[in-house]
């Protein structure tokens, strides 16, 4: 029960009127940006990061938590009302959610998504509070070889499990690792890949990389393919749930949470798999047979899974210092901005901050529900912003964020370079997540590898000297062997979900 007390302590220090205001601003801004088409949660956070500069850490975290959950919820609003999910985790929500909206049940779809997100987020955060300290205690004992193996696992999983083409995943991963090389070598102080440019010597800011790849890359890609006739937005009233809807929703919420949390906590690349498993389960368990025509269970389950996995991602992030999603990578870099070194010591050295962060997540989650249910019709109207002005605004704020950090125009140029890289990746179907993780995990991996080999005196067998490391390498081998099986399962589910849209591309692209 010690953890519970600590969480209450965190709530106490987080719950001041000023901080509640920051949380409210965070939720509103996060939802605002998340609702905008083409912006997912990671991009929302990266774009809004400059807003938290110069705030004291507690207030910044509170605002962060609000931004995070707000951005996530905003994303599902878009996918329900527009049927074109901005990110892979919302694909399953869009399947049933958009059909509900078309059948005039958009209000219920938004409500079950909001309440489901709240339930999953709250349970998830409490689970994080109970698991992270225990895991951190174990993790302190782990040596560099185990850490190295964990990072290899995170990279291999995100590269091979997500997307349809492992080759393109690896192309993105190696590009990311190369970007991670830029700057001074930490051991010998020699510049690598800096082209003699001074601004490149102290390493690239992950925020500039993320905003460039996500925001600018997306804006440029949209510019090349702008839909001349804007997508149809379904008008929606105030979200509410009938007694029957509650009855149909609560079990999927809990099951979705159970799927989402473990996958989020494992270095397995986020919410794509659990949302998919949740959708499959709900369809199998449904007795009404209205799946494919807007079943509320098909929104409730995947939405909960999505948010629970978003909470689960905090376990490796806080206990191990390992980011496993793009959002976590951006958040971790914000932590580093406060002079906090991620890793198992975080739970002991900065215990008060960690508990405040967890308490902030609970607060942000509650505020989200309170503020967003009444505001949903307003958010829906945002989807009608004329596209030229919308994307001009995204470019404006992306440049502002990059420029404000150092007041150096070079950073805007850098942003543009990464924007063009992001554009190229979208054109050639390279997944974004492996690149971002490569940028952030590459330098960490190198540090751990050199640490391990310095201790062992250059003997590479030391990488297999810890049992956990060996277990992880075995797991990696199993996952690579199991990949075709997972892909086939997915293809079958999507095929039966909508025979018109999915066909057997999965089978084709695998070959």
């Amino acid at each position: 029960m010690e953890n519970f007390q600590l969480l209450l302590g965190g709530l106490e220090s987080a719950l001041t009127p000023m901080n509640l205001l920051y949380a409210a601003i965070g939720v509103l801004l996060g939802t605002f940006v998340g609702v905008l088409p083409g912006i997912g949660p990671a991009m929302a956070i990266a774009l809004l990061l400059p807003v938290t500069y110069r705030l004291e850490p507690t207030s910044a975290f509170i605002m962060f938590a609000g931004l995070y959950y707000g951005g996530m919820y905003g994303g599902s609003t878009t996918s329900i009302l527009l049927n074109t999910p901005g990110e892979s985790a919302s694909v399953m929500t869009a399947l049933e959610g958009n059909r509900m909206a078309r059948a005039g049940r958009g209000a219920q779809a938004l409500a079950t998504a909001a309440v489901g997100s709240f339930v999953a987020g709250t349970i998830g955060t409490i689970l994080v509070a109970f698991f992270s300290p225990a895991l951190a205690d174990v993790a302190v004992e782990l040596g560099a070889p185990s850490y190295f193996a964990l990072m290899v696992l995170a990279l291999v999983m995100t590269t091979t499990v997500l997307g349809t083409s492992a080759l393109r995943g690896f192309a993105a991963l190696f590009l990311g690792l190369t970007i991670g090389l830029v700057g001074l070598d930490l051991n010998t102080g020699q510049p690598r890949l800096t082209f003699g440019v001074t601004q490149l010597v102290d390493r690239l800011d992950i925020v500039v990389v993320a905003v460039g790849i996500f925001a600018l890359g997306e804006a440029l890609w949209v510019a090349a393919h702008l839909r001349r006739k804007p997508a149809h937005v379904i008008p929606v009233g105030r979200p509410w749930l009938s007694r029957d809807d509650w009855g149909r929703s609560w079990k999927p919420w809990l099951r979705g949470t159970a799927f989402g949390f473990p996958f989020g906590a494992l270095p397995a690349g986020g919410a794509e798999i659990p949302t998919f498993l949740s959708y499959l389960t709900e369809r199998k368990l449904s007795k009404r047979g209205d799946f494919g025509r807007g079943a509320i269970e098909g929104v409730a389950g995947p939405e909960a899974a999505n948010n629970a996995s978003a909470a689960g991602m905090f376990v490796p992030m806080l206990a191990l210092g390992l980011p496993v999603t793009a959002t976590a990578a951006v958040m971790l870099s914000a932590l580093q901005g406060y002079g906090i070194t991620p890793g198992p010591q975080l739970m002991t050295d900065h215990a008060d901050l960690v508990w405040t962060l967890l308490a902030s997540l609970l607060i942000g989650n509650t505020l989200l529900l309170v503020l967003n249910l009444p505001l949903a019709p307003l958010w829906a109207r945002l989807l009608r912003i004329p596209r030229p002005q919308l994307y001009a605004g995204i470019l404006f704020f992306a440049c502002l964020g990059a420029y404000a950090t150092n007041l150096d125009p070079f950073d805007i140029g850098l942003l543009l370079a990464f924007g063009l890289l992001g554009l190229m990746m979208r054109r050639f179907g390279l997944p974004v997540l492996p690149l971002i993780l490569g940028v952030i995990l590459g330098p960490l991996m190198e540090t751990k590898l050199r640490e391990a080999l310095t201790i062992s005196g250059g003997d590479y067998m030391t990488l297999l000297s810890e049992p956990l490391a060996v277990v992880i390498y075995v797991l990696i081998a199993l996952f690579i062997l199991g990949r075709p099986f997972i892909a086939r399962l997915r293809a079958r589910a999507e095929q039966s979900a909508d025979p018109d849209e999915f066909e057997d591309e999965k089978e084709l692209s695998k070959s």
Partner: protein, 175 residues
């Protein structure tokens, strides 16, 4: 944000084998970066008591890039097609409009070149209005006004709210 599989345009589904020549460009790009990374690393000196040294990682990554590039070229020749990313505002059924992209890049480069000289309030406004115009907006006066409001408001928000003075430029003393 990753690629998802809904609704590819119809012609991409046709079994007819088409080679995406652009992908050879991507493959070449990967190979060139890989080779440059290896060359760059070969000039580094290895320190004492550092059995791995600063070269190993760039060597491994560079080799990986070259390998992926070659494999991609082979896959392209065998007809492997990319799945361009779909999205809310993306219409993949039409061919790409690279002119708009070029205009946006020019607007951004203009911002890079002028932001220290003209200041954020003016460069930011030009950025917004220029980007909106490039994307097809024809309400230039309104866009310039919106841009000015956004840029000046953000200047004050950063100055007053966060204590960061964005470059005032030619408006120094006026703002």
């Amino acid at each position: 944000m990753s690629v998802h599989e809904t609704a590819l345009p119809a012609e991409e589904k046709s079994p007819r084998r088409r080679v995406d020549y652009g992908q050879y460009g991507l493959a070449g790009f990967l190979v060139v970066i890989g080779i440059y990374t290896i060359i760059d690393a070969s000039g580094l000196e290895v320190g004492f008591a550092d059995p791995v040294g600063p070269r190993v990682f760039p060597y491994v990554i560079g080799t990986g890039l070259v390998l992926v590039g070659v494999l991609l070229a082979v896959a392209t020749a065998r007809g492997s097609q990319p799945e361009p990313e779909d999205g809310e505002d993306v219409d993949l059924s039409q061919s790409a409009d690279w002119l708009t992209v070029l205009k946006l890049v020019a607007v951004l480069l203009f911002t890079v070149a002028t932001v220290n000289l003209l200041g954020w309030a003016i460069s930011g406004a030009v950025l917004f209005a220029g980007a909106a115009w490039s994307l097809g907006s024809r309400t230039l006066v309104r866009d310039v006004l919106v841009g000015l409001v956004l840029a000046i408001a953000s200047w004050y928000a950063f100055y007053v709210g966060l204590g960061i003075p964005l470059t005032p430029g030619v408006l120094d003393g006026i703002l």
